[in-house]
């Protein structure tokens, strides 16, 4: 058994070294993951997340960046556990996106 992610030892040729600073959304993904996995919540462990992106298919795995994989696996696993649906998440995203577009909507009501 060798998973598509288990590529250690493959010949890769020369490796270009590029500094990739953390993007804000990537930090948010890690923050949410930590909250879901902490000792009081235990909603989703890091190993469940790993199983998620190690089994969602080589295509998706290779297409996505490190944090995008984690994000997608988080959504898949929360959906599998029946905690959220992708539709609910998309609705919420649309709602929040509107709020951010309209600064007045972000102000607390008087």
């Amino acid at each position: 058994m060798r998973g598509y992610h288990d590529i250690g030892g493959n010949s890769a040729g020369p490796i270009e070294k590029i500094e990739l600073p953390w993007q804000h959304w990537e930090k948010q993904v890690e923050a949410v993951r930590n909250l879901l996995g902490d000792a009081t919540r235990r909603v989703l462990s890091l190993d469940e997340l790993r199983l998620g992106f190690e089994s969602f298919g080589a295509d998706k795995y290779q297409r996505y960046s490190f944090y995008r994989r984690r994000l997608e696996a988080m959504i898949d696993t929360l959906e599998k556990k029946g905690l959220i649906t992708r539709d609910e998440l998309m609705e919420e995203l649309a709602r929040v996106r509107l709020e951010w577009r309209d600064p007045d909507a972000c102000r607390p009501p008087r």
Binding site: M1, R2, D6, G9, R42, S45, D47, E48, R50, L51
Partner: protein
Amino acid sequence: MTAAPIPVRYRVGDPVAVLDLGKAGHVRTPFYVRNRRGEIAQFCGYFLNPEALSLGDTSGPLVPLYRVRFAMKDLWPGEARSDRDFLYMEIYDHWLRPAPGPHA
């Protein structure tokens, strides 16, 4: 967690070989060290098996985790490597077997 911990089987310096358990799912032993020999460098403590954790099973038992030392020359025989280059990897007890005798 109810089950008793899996007993520690190895001591520092013991020669071991990595098993190829052929497991599907989430495992933490990469392909390139399977069937390779190394020696126990350190006992890291007891941990829940990540293979079970990946399925949401936290019932145990706790499994000993070891830091295993591999000679880079053994891992990558075709390449020029110093005798002093080693790779250390944490491996769970159930992926190891005793491997006395000279390195293959």
